[in-house]
Symmetry: C2
Subunit: 308 residues, 2 copies
C-alpha cells in the first residue's frame, strides 16, 4: 500500500572516527524512503535547491519510489554538517543552512492524496497539519518531531497530535513533550492527547512501542562497527511504516513485526555513510537480520520448581 | 542446587525523589540472596559489625538461606549513603564507611565448599581469588566487579578472569575493562581472557548476554514508578544465578531464561527501598512478570511480499 513521506531532502557533511563524507545525500525523507522503498512503493514530498545531485536518488525511483512531489527551487539545498565524538555517543552540529527548505510549504500532488500511510517527518507542526489537510483518508498518520518544535511550537504540536495515529519520537523528546522523565508515564500522557500508539526510539538501546494496553520492546542490533549513526531514526521509521503498509495492517502482531523491521533498517543505516548501505541491500540480508533479532530475544518460559 | 554468594552485607541510607530510608539492610550479597532465595537455597559469606540488625535477614533463613558464613566482627558494619537525582539517572555517594568490611577476608565454611554455583560479589579481586581457592569444583563461577578494581587491581582482576565462567558487569565497566567503547568488541575482549559468557547490564535499558557465538537481549521492565534503583544489579545477578542453579543447567535455552529471571528480579528490586519488595514476593507475581517479558518481546516472523 502507498506511503507518503514529507520531510527534508538534504546534503550532509559528516565526520566520524572512521572517516568523513562531504555533501552526501541525506535528510529525514531520504533515509525514510531508502528503508521503506525496500518494502513497498513510497511517494516523496520535499524540496531541493539547484545544487542537489538529484540523480543520486535514482536508486529510489528504481525501486518504485515516486519523486514527483519533490519541488525544485532556486537556491541552496538544506545543508547540515556535524562531527561525532570518538565513542559516537554525542555529536556537534557544525553548520545548518536551511536554504530552500526554510521556505518549504509542502504541496501534496493530487496523485498522492489517496496515500494510505502518511509519514510526517520532523518539520514545523504547522506544516505537518497543512499536509494532513491535503490528504483524503489515510489509514494511519505517523509523525516525528523534535525538541525545537516541542519548545517553540507546542500549541500547534498538541493540536497536531489529535490527528496523529502513531507518534514516533526519541526518549528525550517523549520526556520533554510530556514533562515527565518516566517513559511509561510520558507515553500515556501523549496517548491521552491523540496518538493511539507511541513509539519511543532509544538509539542503540532499541525502541518501545506503547499500545493501548500492551508494550513491545525491540533491542538495537549489537554491531561491532557503528560507522555513522546519522539517519538511523528515520530508517527505523521507514522500516516500521514500510512494513505496516506492505501488509496493510495495524494488528498488534503486525505492529510488533514492524518494530523489528524498524530496528533492522536502523541497524543497516549506521553501517555506512549516507544511505549507501541501502543501495545494495538484498531481501536475504534483511530477512537474515530479522532472524537474528528473533534469536536474540526469543525464550521459552519454563516454570521453576522451588520451595520458595 | 546450592549457591554460594560472597559480598557485602551493608547498611544503606538512601534518598530518592519519593522519600528516604535510613540505615536499612543492603549490600550486594543481601540483594543477591533476596532474589536468588526465591529460586533455591543460598549460602552467604560476608561480615557484619555489632551494630547490624541481623534479625532483619530472618526472611532469608525462612527461605532456606544459610547465613552461618556471615562473620560477626567487633566494630561498625559497612555503611553507604547516597542521594539520587530527581530523574534517578544519577546518584551522589554522600558517605562510605567500610567498617569491619575493610578488613574482610572471606572464609568459606567447610560445609559451603561443595557449592555448585559461586557468585563473587564486587570485592577486591585478590579476595575473590582467595574464595575460589577454598572451593572444590563449582559448576560455574559468576563474578561481578567495578571501576575501582578495574583501575586499581587490573592485574589481579585479569588473573581472576581466567577462572571465571560468567563475568557480569555493567556497560561502563565492560567498556573500561576492555578499553573499547563498543560493547560487542568489549565482550569479545573479555571472553578471550577467560569467561565463556559475559553479561552486560545496562540498567533500565536491559542486559545482553554474550555467548560463544550468540547473543541474547532482555529489556528492562518498563515501570511507571521506579522507587529506588539501589541493588537492581545484584538482584539481577540473584535471579540469573538462582535460575541456572535451580535447573542446574547452562544450556543456551536455560541461560536465556536466566536472563529474564534476572531482569524480573531487578525490576522488583527497584519498586521499594532496600529488599522490602522481596519480603512478600509470591511465585505468582514472578511468573506473571516473566509472562510480561514474553509478551513484550515475542514476535512471529513473517516474510514480506515485495517487488523490491
Amino acid at each position: 500500500m502507498s506511503i507518503l513521506v514529507v520531510g527534508s531532502v538534504a546534503l550532509d557533511s559528516v565526520e566520524t572516527p572512521f572517516g568523513s563524507a562531504d555533501r552526501v545525500i541525506g535528510g529525514s525523507a531520504v533515509f525514510f524512503a531508502a528503508a521503506a522503498s525496500l518494502l513497498g512503493p513510497v511517494r516523496l514530498v520535499g524540496v531541493v535547491g539547484d545544487d542537489y545531485p538529484f540523480e543520486k536518488l535514482d536508486f529510489l525511483t528504481a525501486r518504485g519510489a515516486d519523486l514527483s512531489g519533490v519541488e525544485h527551487a532556486e537556491g541552496e539545498s538544506f545543508f547540515w554538517a556535524a562531527r561525532y565524538s570518538d565513542d559516537l555517543s554525542s555529536r556537534d552540529t557544525l553548520e545548518t543552512r536551511f536554504g530552500v527548505f526554510g521556505d518549504f510549504r509542502p504541496r501534496v500532488p493530487d496523485a498522492f492524496r489517496d496515500s494510505r500511510y502518511v509519514f510526517l517527518g520532523n518539520i514545523d507542526p504547522v506544516l505537518q497539519l497543512e499536509v494532513l489537510d491535503q490528504m483524503r483518508e489515510p489509514a494511519a498518520v505517523i509523525c516525528d518531531t523534535m525538541n525545537y518544535w516541542i519548545e517553540g511550537s507546542r500549541e500547534a504540536l498538541v493540536e497536531l497530535l489529535k490527528r496523529v495515529d502513531i507518534l514516533m519520537v526519541n526518549d528525550a523528546e517523549a520526556r520533554q513533550l510530556a514533562g515527565d522523565h518516566n517513559l511509561v508515564r510520558a507515553a500515556r500522557w501523549i496517548q491521552e492527547r491523540g496518538p493511539r500508539l507511541v513509539v519511543v526510539k532509544k538509539g542503540e538501546h532499541g525502541a518501545i512501542l506503547f499500545g493501548p494496553d500492551w508494550m513491545f520492546f525491540v533491542p538495537g542490533f549489537p554491531l561491532e562497527v557503528i560507522f555513522d549513526p546519522t539517519g538511523a531514526g528515520d530508517a527505523f521509521a521507514g522500516g516500521f511504516v514500510g512494513y505496516i503498509a506492505s501488509v496493510d495492517s495495524q494488528d498488534p502482531e503486525d505492529l510488533r513485526r514492524a518494530m523489528v523491521y524498524g530496528s533492522v533498517m536502523g541497524s543497516f543505516a549506521v553501517e555506512s555513510f549516507s544511505v549507501d548501505r541501502f543501495h545494495s541491500l538484498h531481501q536475504k540480508e534483511i530477512q537474515s537480520r530479522i532472524m537474528g533479532f528473533k534469536e536474540m530475544t526469543a525464550f521459552e518460559h519454563g516454570l521453576v520448581e522451588s520451595d520458595g
